[in-house]
Amino acid sequence: MSKAVLMQGNEAVVEGAIAAGARFFAGYPITPSTEIAEQSALRLPQVGGTFIQMEDELASVAAVLGASAAGVKSFTATSGPGFSLMQENIGYGAMAEIPCVIVDVQRAGPSTGLATSPSQGDYMQARWGTHGDHPVIALSPSSVLEAYRLTVRAFNLSEKYRTPVILLMDEIVGHMREGVTLPNPNELIINSRKMSFHDGANKQCYYVPEGQYVPAMKPFGRGERYNITGLAHDISGFPTNDNAVAGAGIKRLLDKIEKNADDIIRTEEYLLDDAETAIVCFGGTKRAAMDAIEALRARGEKVGLFRPVTVWPFPEKQLREKCAQVKRLIVVEHNHGQMLLQVQRAATDTQRVDFLGRIDGTVITPDEIVATFEGKEDMTHAQ
């Protein structure tokens, strides 16, 4: 695969998933993610995998979790309303610690909204969509090649930490075609879940050694009988009403991500060394930001870029470190100010935080970012 090919972001996700070892997709058609289902239907059986179009998105995540529990790396893809429908079972995956990847190609909402238009309005939903305190990993690509690479990484993190990982795409990247040279799949690092086979039936299938956070997974339906539940459970996997045990179990789920944040978090910085202003954005918004930074740099303005590639957990520490000398942070996102809240929490008292947002389904242009830099634009101009 050394030859460059023209590929759509949604297509790249499927190739990344296959390279990561995924062999099961269950989904329901919804714009702008549908190409991921279509391409999965075409490609998965070619590699011996299975595609199924389910009756709705609730069933899609359920089937994905079932298939993953049974030992097959699995994923689904959706957009807007479908992502809302998936939330309950995403929480189940987090609670029962079943790895899977959920791709959300965001579109403008709320409700049916602007069904085919770009948005980044699911940023907070990706974090807090399912009820209760739960662990979340979410990654957001800005190019077709990165869609491929982050899909591989989403599977790796999901397997490593036994938790659903959200690939938070946007329509800009999902529907864009670019020339890409995909890496040789044999050269990729592929993680698979740690398995435990040795301890017989019904023995502590959620046991975690001291100082570790992720239990090894027992193969379901392959020789060892155990129980999986979304109820608060003890290390045997059976429900418990003991508050101390339940609390400790849920705390471990949260710690699993928090204590490994440095391993999970990736960020991108561009020209930050001497920057007085940092544009902070994620996903496809980076593309306008890069042109804006080039235009501003050409005029001698010291502007750089800070981009969370891992959008959840939010790279608070990394933002503080990399933007320590920056006087001004301009958050640019296709929503009404969601990541803005995280940046405001991370910024120091002396740093000014400005915002450019968009909720009308159009794409923020480089000129608009320049204008915001110059202070000509309202905070949110798409009222």
Binding site: A4, V5, L6, T31, P32, A115, T116, S117, I172, H175, M176, R177, E178, G179, G284, K286, R287, A288, A289, M290, D291, E294, V363, T365, P366, D367
Partner: protein, 190 residues
């Protein structure tokens, strides 16, 4: 070719303007250039007006949408009226001969060619209009060599339709006379 060439392909749903944009992006990739293609989705892509974009550049392309529209293909009057005002100052529009160009466009910037008639009569299949247009556009600007363009087309058409589509490419090319070609040709690859 200019360092960065921003193209728009417009018409009604079903005319294949999206495929036309994909073929140019693919041809650019075949030649080792940078290319980004995108399109408008939704109801307007299902029978109403349809719009696709392709940016070709020697440098990395960040922002993926057309800002300086260098070239516009319009296959319907609606599409022409809607997108002509967004053309860059020196932008060129190719229209089907059945359309009338808006008065504000300098006639030097309007290339009127019988795309639909050529597809119907010369090639014998109306459905090939988009490929006829690709042949004509490529010839007008001298964008890609024949082999590259055929490779790009081949990657996006059903197997077994190569002959038909290559005939459409040639028919489109033949619509552009030497006078037109010399006027717009910026640089010929190879």
């Amino acid at each position: 070719m200019k360092n960065r060439f921003e193209m728009r392909f417009t018409g009604s749903g079903g005319q294949g303007v999206i495929l036309a944009s994909v073929i140019f992006a693919e041809a650019a990739v075949v030649k080792g250039l940078h290319a980004v293609q995108s399109q408008a989705y939704g109801p307007e892509a299902r029978g109403g007006s349809s719009k696709a974009e392709c940016i070709i550049s020697r440098d990395t392309i960040w922002f993926s949408k057309v800002q300086q529209n260098d070239f516009l293909l319009a296959l319907t009057q609606n599409a022409l009226d809607k997108y002509a005002p967004e053309l860059a100052e020196d932008g060129v529009v190719m229209i089907d001969e059945s359309l009338s160009a808006p008065a504000f466009l300098d006639s030097e910037r309007v290339v009127s060619v019988p795309i639909l008639r050529c597809a119907r009569e010369t090639v014998g299949k109306t459905i090939t209009a988009n490929i006829v247009a690709v042949g004509a556009i490529n010839e007008l600007f001298g964008l890609f060599d024949e082999e590259t363009l055929r490779e790009a087309v081949s990657r996006h058409i059903p197997a077994g339709t190569e002959d038909l589509n290559f005939r459409a490419l040639s028919a489109g090319k033949a619509l552009i006379g030497s006078e037109l070609r010399d006027r717009y040709l910026v640089e010929r690859e190879n």
